[in-house]
Symmetry: C2
Subunit: 185 residues, 2 copies
DNA sequence: ACCTGAACACCGTTCAAGT
DNA sequence: ACCTGAACACCGTTCAAGT
């Protein structure tokens, strides 16, 4: 007599994502996820090999969300303005979903091709804009300069690293403008 | 009959730091620390309120180590060269002690003044060099631009985020030089 | 005055037994 | 075919009892 499924992969991932968004990565226990979908913890192992595997699926969805946000910046905008917009969308995403953003960069040790492409695809809108700005030859290091700044800035901001006063919004705008100005010339 | 102390604050912190350096933050259990200093886990609570408190002490030592490395860059060097050296020392530290570096930024939720000043003091050598380069008015946002880039770059590098090929050393030098060039003009 | 065994509430995970 | 209680090895932490 087959037992009917009480939940689904999608419901489990959605519950896990909600837990991470609301209470952070440390709140993501198999017990909490099981409670949210009304099964007992061992049932989750029918669908996900372990907690890391479930977390990786949440990370993949989060990177997809971020990529979709970035892709809504019109590709027709002139590259400098497009990069400003991309940088703003990126920071807004991180601030709006700060716990999820932090969890996206928790290293599960996964080095499978899918994981690599998932993360690489998120960078594509920015790389296209940088390529349009500086040309294909300089595109890779220039993209790394911009992504390192943007990721570093929001990471530090979210961990309250900017404690010397001053306006953080202005510092971000200053950084983005200075970088775009340096790349354009 | 007083029982003689079997260990010390210093020995416990040293053991904890060694564990983090060698096996990462997730290996830092009270059991592992207790084993290393040859006591039972409950004894550690005589000296540290909890695991987070011990971790914060390890973080403070790590920030001190980083600051001492940065302070060995001669203050007499011209600001652009000084900043290049500071950026290189910073990246070397993160690469040489990658697990410790990652643990330095684990957020324990501590917002006490000591914690704030500890982190702020690490930024001082860079802020001084940036001030010498761009003047006091622009020093704060310019320092944030540089630290965000440097921290973002090494964090991404250590989590294997640069997977599109190209020379990562060159990308770092390109980033640092581009930033210094943009600030100097 | 410091150390420790025992205990508690929690983890992630496995597996045999249920339907 | 999926679900679950029971169990295992681990956590962090507390505390009464030892010397």
């Amino acid at each position: 007599v087959p037992a009917p499924a009480k939940t689904s992969d999608e419901a489990i991932v959605a519950a896990a994502k909600r837990i991470v968004e609301q209470d952070g990565l440390e709140a993501l226990s198999m017990q909490a996820v099981a409670d949210a979908v009304d099964v007992r913890p061992p049932s989750l192992y029918k669908r996900f090999a372990d907690r890391d595997s479930l977390l990786r699926t949440v990370q993949a969805e989060a990177f997809d969300d971020l990529r979709h946000s970035l892709e809504r910046v019109p590709a027709a905008l002139p590259p400098p303005e497009r990069l400003r917009r991309i940088a703003d969308v990126y920071r807004s995403f991180a601030r709006r979903r700060r716990r999820l953003y932090a969890a996206m960069f928790y290293d599960t040790g996964d080095r499978r091709p899918e994981d690599v492409t998932m993360r690489a695809r998120t960078a594509e809108p920015l790389i296209r804009a940088v390529t349009d700005l500086v040309g294909a030859e300089r595109a890779l290091p220039a993209s790394r300069l911009l992504t390192a700044f943007v990721h570093g800035f929001v990471t530090m901001e979210l961990s309250s690293a900017f404690r010397l006063g001053g306006n953080v919004d202005d510092a971000y705008a200053y950084g983005v403008d200075t970088l775009i100005g340096a790349l354009v010339k």
